[in-house]
Assembly symmetry: C2
Homo-oligomer: 587 residues x 2
């Protein structure tokens, strides 16, 4: 069984040469990070992930959480690992110092989160959602609520959940029925929520549920939902824990994957109403939810990268060790020698590296935004807004292909659960669904992020990509790859023009546009990496084998992934007519 | 829960208008079939599949086979279903009359097998493998062996298995180590085989293992393997069953899917050697194996179609029933109204119909071959040979996408096992692996089927497609679709030219060429269907809604699938250099 190793060298390369980490540190006044602190952080994270969390990954798959007398009991070993995780301060990386946080840049937290998600995605979902909840509380909650709830979440003593979905309201939040009735300084919450990740467990002393519900005077639709804090245990004035609140996990889903992560049906108010506290103004739940969600969406995109990396490592080890086939001289060879296995491995490797580059870049752009002057903020916000659905949508879709290739490389052994390759495929299958399906990401991209500003933000991004490509210094061997990527920019412009001219087709062409942009951004960053690698390889102490491999991987990516851009464009240009042509009764 | 329904109307359309079934019946002297008998057969098969086998599909998934005291015990209910299946004569459809068969054309059997595979793929694997074994025995075994073994297999009293794979010999049969030592009129077989589908069960009185092993004087490599019949129970001279043979299932795999199908580790000769009988000449096992395998490969392609159809039906029902979203007028709508859900459903529907057309055509071509004059036989054999890897490779790969779309349409519910959508994805994942991986199919296509005749068979096929497209009478709305398909033919010719000019790149480009051809053949047949539909819609009694839908589905297929052809060509034209560039140590 292959063990997981954090791909430290590639992550460092992306930090140093794709996102200009030291420049970012200087910009945001954190020079200590560039000069050693970030190394220590990444080394420590890798150690915990590789040694503690990764070995629990299969255990969680085989012995998922169960609903017992005390509520949900997580997989044996998870609680101890969580304690170690929290005590080491990992939940506090990006939180403000005022709440016990370390105020580190998001991009460092992203690299660290890659470790957690690759090591054990089911486990790492718990801190991922807690992080989103912290963001939402910091942005929208009153000082009093922040004081009570944020610090113990930052310390990891407590965890948090997002309670959005109801049986009749999946992607359609307008249909939410849960109710909140005012009672003194708090509200009484009643309703049922489904698909609540880590909705209950015994790893932390308290669980803070962020719950969408309607006030009695709420208008219909999404403009009538509000966000509430509903703690599992009520919190006394001194911060100590009081009574058990009327909020319970009543059943667990039997899922295709992420068995280690309990997915709960939560019932609020079976005994008269759970006590909850309003976050922000009444009827502004959607905005609060989006703060939480945007954070979580990038986090799910990161899961796409992370599970792909894990699947890649597993397949790579198998391809190296498995002897299959005989050369003419009688010597037997490993799977690596077979061109089609190589093709699959290279699709995995180059796909993972392109995702990592885009992921860290999107995250670093978030850091720039946080420290931006008023002048720069608008453009940076637009850029982050544009990246989010692509990171979530494209990367989680690509993760389906990468994890499936991981199974295929194992041949028959890939279909046998003991091998472990199938778990990554099963686990990955949730990624294009939760926190907004691929279709929802695409609607966000074409609607809120593109049509609403008449394509300005996207045009600006494409111009920047075009300019950078035009000025890139690349080895001659990559001239074809560069041309492909430049053609991709032209294709993207054409697709955007189609969208702007045919806004009614937006819902029909959205996914194809989103995928097109994902592949293009991946190609742009892979070529940026190749250019940097060539430049760096002239330095005397350079790891020339690694740097040459970066260039060759970019080459492969451009040859094997970029042709998909023209395919997506052709589909976009065909428009949406043939989608809706058939009468419903004829399906 | 949606129930499975055999898509009788589409299957009949393909039989009547894509493969010219009545012409075929006349050609092979089976006019009774065209005039009613085939209707009765398909109706009966649909009834058994829908009512008996389909309800056991989920049961098999949840309560897979177990290894007990008696050997392997299959899922409760399977034995009774199998008895009904055998007693109704279904295993005997295509077998010769001399052995109790009905000598019906393969294409009818293919339509019937679609029912079994859609209803319950895990169950249907058992007769599928038995069918392959019958073919191998009929083609290669002595009259004595045929007399003893074929009739009870045809009647369904016994079932059969294929014992190829060993722990160190997956796709690489040269590495087979099982041994066969002569002893009087029989041989003593020893060795271990893995991944033996339905290697043991209690549904039939006897199980006939076809086992690849080496004789003591065997040359090394694939030229030294022979095929043996190894019955679970020895057969007395009068046909009655004798002693238990020294061949046992010693463990079962814990698999991602097809839980209802026991996948056995088989041990031969633990107590001195299993008694076996040589099939054909010594050292000709590979040829025997290919007879069995070619039949099974088309059968696995059919599984790709069948599980896709099942997943499509499941997703369609959900999309019709699930209410999600609200129109401006306040009315709530089902998922079907959402363009991106439609896009996914149309990808499923049109993909399934293209697969069905190709599957039945390949099968009917096999019938023509069987009844061909010497003059025609060569070309027909070449055509069947060409279709086989495309049917197996392209259709099982497409089934991954279609079953995954089925999960996606269900949103969060798709990830919950109770829904049932995830089972199709899990079950389908074996299809591009067993009976030769996708990579192996591609090697077969580019090597044995294309380079070895300098591309003649493929050139001929492409010419026929081109000529038919040039003469097609299609509605004006499909002129763009037709052009796309014609461009696809040009792309395919270019890809073939690349292969012929760069034979060393064959293993690197094979999968892309195979996928390219699959999409192209699908487009050709969808357009053939559209042309026939337009023609038929002029008849007074025509089902015009169905016929219009056929045209619209073809339209969608051409717009959404055919752009993949140029993508595959671009990858092929890039060659294989970037695949192998990276040093193994750098992965």
């Amino acid at each position: 069984m292959s063990e997981y190793r954090f791909p430290r060298q590639d992550a460092q390369f992306v930090l140093d040469h794709i996102v200009n980490f030291s420049g970012l540190c200087a910009e945001i006044g954190h020079d200590d990070l560039a000069s050693g602190l970030s190394d220590a952080i990444l080394d420590e994270a890798a150690r915990l992930g590789e040694q503690v969390l990764a070995p629990l990954n299969k255990v969680g798959d085989q012995q998922g959480a169960v609903l017992g007398e005390k509520g949900v009991e997580e997989t044996a070993g998870f609680a101890q690992a969580y304690k170690q995780f929290a005590q080491s301060g990992w939940p506090s990386l990006v939180a403000p110092e005022a709440f016990g946080g370390q105020a580190l840049p998001k991009v460092i937290s992203t690299a660290v989160n890659e470790v957690w998600q690759s090591s054990n995605m089911a486990f790492a979902l718990c801190p991922l959602l807690t992080q989103g909840a912290i963001e939402a509380l910091l942005t929208h909650a009153s000082d009093e609520l922040k004081e009570t709830y944020v610090t113990p979440l930052v310390s990891g003593e407590w965890t948090a959940t997002m309670n959005l979905t109801e049986p009749d309201a999946g992607s359609d939040l307008a249909a939410i029925k849960s109710r909140a009735v005012p009672e003194g300084d708090h509200y009484r919450i009643t309703g049922q929520k489904i698909f609540i990740t880590w909705g209950d467990h015994q790893m932390a002393d308290n669980i803070i549920h962020l719950v969408l519900a309607r006030l009695p005077d709420a208008p219909a639709g999404v403009k009538g939902i509000s966000l509430f804090v509903v703690p599992k245990f009520l919190v006394n004035a001194d911060g100590s824990l009081g009574e058990r609140n009327d909020a319970k996990a009543v059943s667990l889903e039997h899922k295709l994957g992420i068995h280690g992560s309990p997915t709960c049906v939560m019932s609020f108010g079976d005994e008269g109403g759970a006590i909850g506290y309003l976050v922000g103004e009444p009827h502004t739940g959607l905005a609060c939810m989006f703060t939480m969600m945007n954070d979580a969406r990038q986090g799910v995109g990161l899961q796409g990268l992370a599970i792909s990396e894990r699947a890649y490592q597993h397949a790579r080890t198998y391809a190296q060790e498995r002897i299959q086939g005989t050369l003419r001289d009688g010597s037997r060879v490993n799977l690596m020698k077979h061109p089609d296995v190589r093709r699959m491995l290279m699709l995995m490797k180059s796909g993972v590296e392109a995702m990592r580059a885009l992921m860290y870049l999107a995250s670093a752009t978030g850091d720039q935004l946080e420290h931006a002057s008023e002048n720069e903020a608008h453009a940076l916000q637009a850029r982050v807004d544009l990246y989010t659905p692509i990171v979530k949508g494209w990367m989680t879709e690509l993760a389906q292909e990468v994890t499936s290739l991981g199974v295929q490389i194992h041949g028959g052994m890939g279909f046998v659960e003991e091998t472990g390759a199938a778990q990554y495929l099963r686990d990955a299958r949730i990624l294009p669904i939760y926190e907004g399906t691929t279709g929802i990401q695409a609607l966000d991209l074409v609607g809120r992020k593109t049509l609403s500003d008449e394509g300005q933000a996207l045009t600006l991004l494409l111009q920047e990509v075009e300019t950078e490509l035009a000025n890139m210094l690349l080895p001659d061997t990559l001239s074809g790859a560069l041309e492909r990527c430049q053609m991709g920019v032209d294709n993207a412009k054409e697709a955007l023009a189609y969208l702007l001219a045919n806004p009614k087709q937006a819902p029909a062409i959205g996914v194809n546009l989103m995928m097109l942009l994902g592949y293009l951004l991946g190609g742009w960053l892979m070529l940026r990496a190749a250019g940097k690698a060539q430049e760096l390889s002239k330095q005397p102490s350079a790891d020339t084998a690694f740097l040459m491999t970066k260039q060759q991987t970019a080459h492969f990516y451009c040859e094997h992934y970029l042709p998909r851009i023209a395919m997506h464009l052709a589909i976009i240009n065909a428009g949406g007519e043939s989608l809706m042509a058939i009468d419903e009764a004829q399906f």
